[in-house]
Amino acid sequence: MSASTLPPAGGAVIGTDGLAALVDVLRARGYTVVGPTVRDGAIVLQELESAAQLPYGWGVDLEAGRYRLRSRTDGAAFANAAGPQSWKTFLHPARVRQWTAERAGGELVIEADDTAPPRFAFLGVRSCDLRAIAVQDRVLTAGPHSDPVYRGRRSGAFLVAVECTEPGGTCFCVSMGTGPAAGPGYDLVLTELVDDEGHRFWIRADSTEGAEILAELPGEPASEAVRRSAVDAVGSAAERMGRTMPDTDLRRLMAETLEAPRWDDVASRCLTCGNCTMVCPTCFCTTTEDVTDLTGDHAERWRVWDVCFDLDFSYLPGGPVRASPRSRYRQWLTHKLGTWHDQFGSSGCVGCGRCIVWCPVAIDITEEAAALHDWTRRTEDEPR
C-alpha cells in the first residue's frame, strides 16, 4: 500500500490509558480477557487482569527453530509477531472432558459435560490469526456436525484485532493473502503507533458491541494524519516479510509433487515430534481417550489434541497406514496447502510462521514448498 492511498475514515485515537480502559471495560462486561504477556522467555497468551501485563517494550527475533525475546526502546506493546500459542488454545482446547458415566445399582448414567465456557475477549488477534479463526470456524462449525465445544467458546468471543507493524523473520502473511492489515471478523481493531507524537492506537469498531465499548474509552477522533501514519506503518510491514511462499498455485503444486524426492529429504530431517501441528493455528485434529477409575463404576471421555505425525493417528487393524515419516510429513503439508481447499474451500495455511519457528530442527514450510516448486520446473525442462 503506498503512502498516497487515502486512509479509511473514522475511528478514534487512544493512548495507553485508553488501552488500560479497554481491558477494564471488557472485564467489567464479564469477559475473560486473554492477551499477550511475557512468561518463560516468550510472549504467551494468558488471561490478563490489566493492560499492564501486556508485553510493553518487548520484541522478538524469529528464525527457523529459534525464538528470542528482545527488549525494545520504544515501549511498543504489539511490535512482536506470533508467539508459541495461538487462539485455538482457548477456542479448541488441548484437553476437553466430553462426558462422564456412572454405574450405580446396575444402571449406567451418562452425563454430557456441558459446563458453560467462559466468555472470552481476545486482545491482540493478528490478521493471520483472525484468518485462522475464520478457517477453524469453517472446519469446526460450518459443516452438518458443528462442534459444540468450539461453538460454545467461539460464539460469545469478542475479538480485538491488532494490525501488524513489525513482522517477524518467519512471517509470510502477504504470500498467503492474510495480512498484515486486519481482514473482517473483528469487533475492534487497533493499529499501534509509537513516534514523536507519542504512543497511541488508532482504534475502529466493526460490530455493535465494539462501537459501544469504543464509546466508553477515553480518546479523540482520529485525525487524517494519524490514520495515514497507521496505514503507512501497516503498508511498510507488508514490505518487510521475512519469508515468501513460491508464487505459484500451491494447491496444484501439492497435487503434482506427490512423488518428488524432496519428501525423502525432509523426512531425513523431520523428528515427527508433532510440534508444527500443535502450534499451527488451523490444525484441528483430536483423538478421544476413555478413562475409568479403579472401581470401574466411573468412566470419562476426554478429547485431546492429536497430530498426523503420531503413528496412532492412522492406526488401523494391521498397523499404521502412514508408517514412514515421509508419508506423515507429506500428509501434513499436502493437506495444509492442497487438499484443505477441496475439503474446506481455502488454504489451511495463514502464513503466521509458527511451524517454522517452533520446529526444533528448523524445517521451513516455505523452503519445502519452494524446493517442490523447483523440482516441478526442473522436471518440466527434462525430456520425458
Partner: protein, 280 residues
Amino acid sequence: MEPDPRPSLAVWKFASCDGCQLTLLDCEDELLPLTDRVRITHFLEMSSAEDSREPATLAGTGPYDLSLVEGSITTVEDVRRIHHIRRISRRLVTIGACATAGGIQALRNFADVEEFRAAVYASPEYIATLDTSTPISAQVPVDFELRGCPIDRGQLLEVLTAFLAGRKPNISSHSVCFECKRRGTTCITVAQGVPCLGPVTHAGCGALCPAYGRGCYGCFGPMATPNLEAMVRELRHDGMTERDIVRVFRTFNAASPEYGPVPGLAAQEAPGTPAEEGPR
C-alpha cells in the same frame, strides 16, 4: 469361605533401585481403593514377612493374575527366576527403564564387565554376574511395558485400571513434545537454546523437566519413531559436545536398540573420553 473374587497382584524385583515399586506405594489416595479391587499377594517392599500370607521368598508360588516386574536381568539366577515368574503369571507387565530397556546397568553392555568387577569390588570373586543387562522382554514374552526412570504414577494406575476393566491402556508412544504443547510449556530448545531430548523421547512423564526449564534427558527412552540422526545434529547445534551427546543417550535406556544405529553412539568409548581421564 467364599473364594476371593479379586484378581491377585504380585510385584517382583530384579536388578533395580526399587524406585518403580515405590511408585506403587506412592499411590497414596488410590492405594486403599486398589486393595479393594486386587489382592496384593506378593510385594516384599510392602509386606512384613510375619504378616504376609506368603513366605518372603524371591520367587513365590502363584499363580498370579497380574505380575509387575521391576529390574533387568543381570545374573544366571535372574534368568531362571523370570522364567518361573512368567509361568505363574497370567499377565506380566514390566515397570520402568530397567525392566523395559535394561536400565543404567546396561552400560556394561558397552564395556568389559570383568574390568568393572575388578575396579568396584574388594573381593570380585564373590560377584557372579552376566556380561550384559537385558530387559525382561529379551527373556520372556511381556504383555505390556511401562517406561520411565522411575515410572509415572498416573501411568501405573492407568495400566492397573485398564487391566481391571479389560481394556487397552491409554499409553501413547509419541514424543514428549506432545505433552509440552498440550500443557502449554514454551519450547525451551527454541526459546532458550536448551538442548532437549523431548522430540525423540517417549511421552508419559507429562513433560516434567521442560516445565521447569530443564531439557528432557530421555528417562522414558525412545518414542515410537525416533529420528536419532536428526536429533544428534540438533544437539550439536545446541552446543553439546560429541562426548556429552554420547553420554546423554547412555543413561537409563542405554541398551534401547533404537539408540544403536546413531553414528558415534555405537562406539565402545565416547569420543574424547580417554581411559586415563579418571575412574569410570
